[in-house]
Amino acid sequence: MTAQFMQGNTACAEGALVAGCRFFAGYPITPSSEIAEILSYRLPALGGKFIQMEDEIASLAAVIGASVGGMKAMTATSGPGFSLMQENIGYAAMTEIPCVIVNVQRTGPSTGLPTSPAQGDVMQSRWGTHGDHPIIVLSPSSVMETFRLTVTAFNFSEKYRTPVILLMDEVVAHMREKVDLPAPEQVEVVDRIQTNVPPEWYFPYEETASDVPPLVSFGQGFRYHITGLFHDVRGFPTERLDEIQPWLKRVFAKINNNLSDILMYEEEDTRGARTVVLAYGSTARSARHAVRLARARRHKAGFCKLLTIWPFPEEAVERLAHTAKRIVVPEMNLGQLALEVERVAGRHKVRRVNRADGEMITPQQILEAIEG
């Protein structure tokens, strides 16, 4: 493919199509609406379907329904809509139905600053729905990364039968950059595991070696049950501890036993660094710049960018904290992922750089934290 000048939201839509997304349901909300607009135009020609639902609750419900019907499906929203989706994020986690939820973060709480960036949904993306549940959250910092991580989000959701959240922010979504998208046939695309057993032997929630049971679409002769209640291996409701406990164990194991696949981060100059700046999303751009400025001033500074923020890459952070004297965590909120870094590295090692007023964190602010 040739190089193009592209917006983050466009890259997200393109990534979804390359990943095999054929269903989108959504509700208009700034700053995510372009994703819906593009897919409403592109999907029908591919035999896919787009529908604008009556709210975000219905949007995610339709996405899950379509996924049960065998289509790779996605929705896109921002903070207020993301809050409404929490109910069905829990349903997708409980029923292990693959789906991708894009949250282009804007400044909150409530209506907040609809056109300004933020990273205030880090904790909501992890713990927004009620009850303990596994989840994967990815956060891109550039237009190209948005394309790549959208594909990865679909691949993870299919591979691990889990909802995956792509946590963008307004800057990444609306920024335009030069990108050179790979040809679709060069992109690795993963599809959900199918079964090779006859219907009477199929258990949609059975324990398997990979902890991820095969998922057969509705309408293929398997006629099983899906419920948001705790269920047994056949999908039927249960209150038996000997069925609830193995389920809990398995759904966490399917994520925790595959951290080497799921956890993605990039490091620059962290070896021997006295100070490491740990960032994600558009803030990672300021952070990288700040580290370069610091190194030009002969500070031993390093940079680590998280692409996977949940599950939290605690071993990587532990390693960084072992050698570095200080970890600087800039984020466009009043300290959310920093809580995790502090948990792993110890509070005394972490310096937070925060703002939640709708403005980006500047390299200068981060540089001050490195030098201060």
Binding site: F23, A25, P44, A45, G47, K49, I51, M53, E54, D55, I57, A58, S59, A61, A62, V63, I64, G65, A66, S67, V68, G69, G70, M71, A73, E87, N88, Y91, S217, F218, G219, Q220, G221, F222, R223, Y224, H225, I226, T227, G228, L229, D232, R234, F236, P237
Partner: protein, 281 residues
């Protein structure tokens, strides 16, 4: 007698015997009668059960799908129609039935209900209306009649109820019908027609909850409430001969709306055809 036996066998054949019996509903509940009517309708139509999906929300009626041998999905409270919308669009070849209670369909799911009707989404919605939240212990619902008591309306209900069928008609459904759990065979005929119709079809199955609503309002046991449905419901033809005041007090049974026309799935298929043509030409 012979027919009765055959029918019993048919229902048995459609149930899941592997785990989930006896049913969780109270003895005397009308929901099982609605389930029986759905099964008879599907059996008579000769539908391939691999192509039948039953989607529900939360509540007593929400537990219906687990017992039947279809593709079944018990979703979140009020959202069944939205889940079913996605499923239907992904699998337009499937018959997607959505079973809901009155609280599920009209309170928490009211928005989804009117928009599924407005879009004329190709779904069959069967609403079991028992005028109360049964599972949670008898709180008033959007169809609890005025002045009646509920555990959250100890002084009597002051909120006017939603007329479910009128709402569906006004919102854009293509087929709207009503019967009661006393009129079990009428109910299965209406459900059969609802499934056959393209677009959004609604069947209101008027039921009762003797355990909560009946007890709180001193309406007697299940048999008494069943008898009340028999004595206080009229056919459409009978209703037309009544004065408006008299009609108000009756449950009117029959097909209240039936309009031909394309549903959402047909219209979207046309969009796909156009988009593909534009892409190729």
């Amino acid at each position: 007698m012979h027919t009765e036996l055959r029918e019993k066998h048919e229902i048995y054949d459609y149930l899941r015997h592997s785990k989930k019996f006896p049913v969780m509903w109270c003895a005397g509940c009308g929901i099982g009668i609605v389930l029986g009517a759905i099964i008879r309708a599907i059996d008579r139509m000769g539908l391939d059960r691999d192509r039948v999906a039953m989607v529900s929300g939360i509540g007593c009626t929400g537990r219906m799908p687990v017992y039947v041998d279809f593709n079944t999905m018990h979703t979140t409270h009020g959202r069944a129609l939205a889940f079913a919308t996605g499923l239907k669009l992904a699998r337009p070849d499937m018959y997607v039935l959505v079973v809901m209670g009155d609280g599920d369909a009209l309170a928490i799911g009211g928005n989804h209900f009117i928009h599924a009707a407005r879009r004329n989404m190709d779904l069959t919605a069967i609403v079991v209306n028992n005028n109360i939240y049964g599972m949670t212990g008898g709180q008033y619902s959007p169809t609890t009649p005025l002045h009646m008591r509920a555990t959250t309306a100890p002084y009597g209900n002051i909120e006017p109820p939603f007329p479910l069928c009128e709402l569906a008609k006004a919102a854009g459904a293509s087929f709207v019908a009503r019967s009661t759990v006393y009129h079990a065979t009428e109910l299965d005929r209406l459900i059969e027609q609802a499934i056959a119709r393209r677009g959004f079809s609604v069947v209101e199955a008027v039921s009762y909850c003797h355990t909560t609503y009946g007890r709180l309002n001193r309406l007697g046991a299940a048999v008494d409430m069943m008898r009340w449905l028999k004595e206080n419901s009229v056919t459409l033809a009978q209703a037309e001969k009544m004065s408006p005041e008299e009609r108000e007090t009756k449950i009117v049974r029959g097909i209240l709306l039936d309009r031909e026309g394309p549903g959402y799935v047909d219209l979207y298929d046309e969009i796909i055809r156009q988009a593909k043509a534009a892409e190729n030409g």
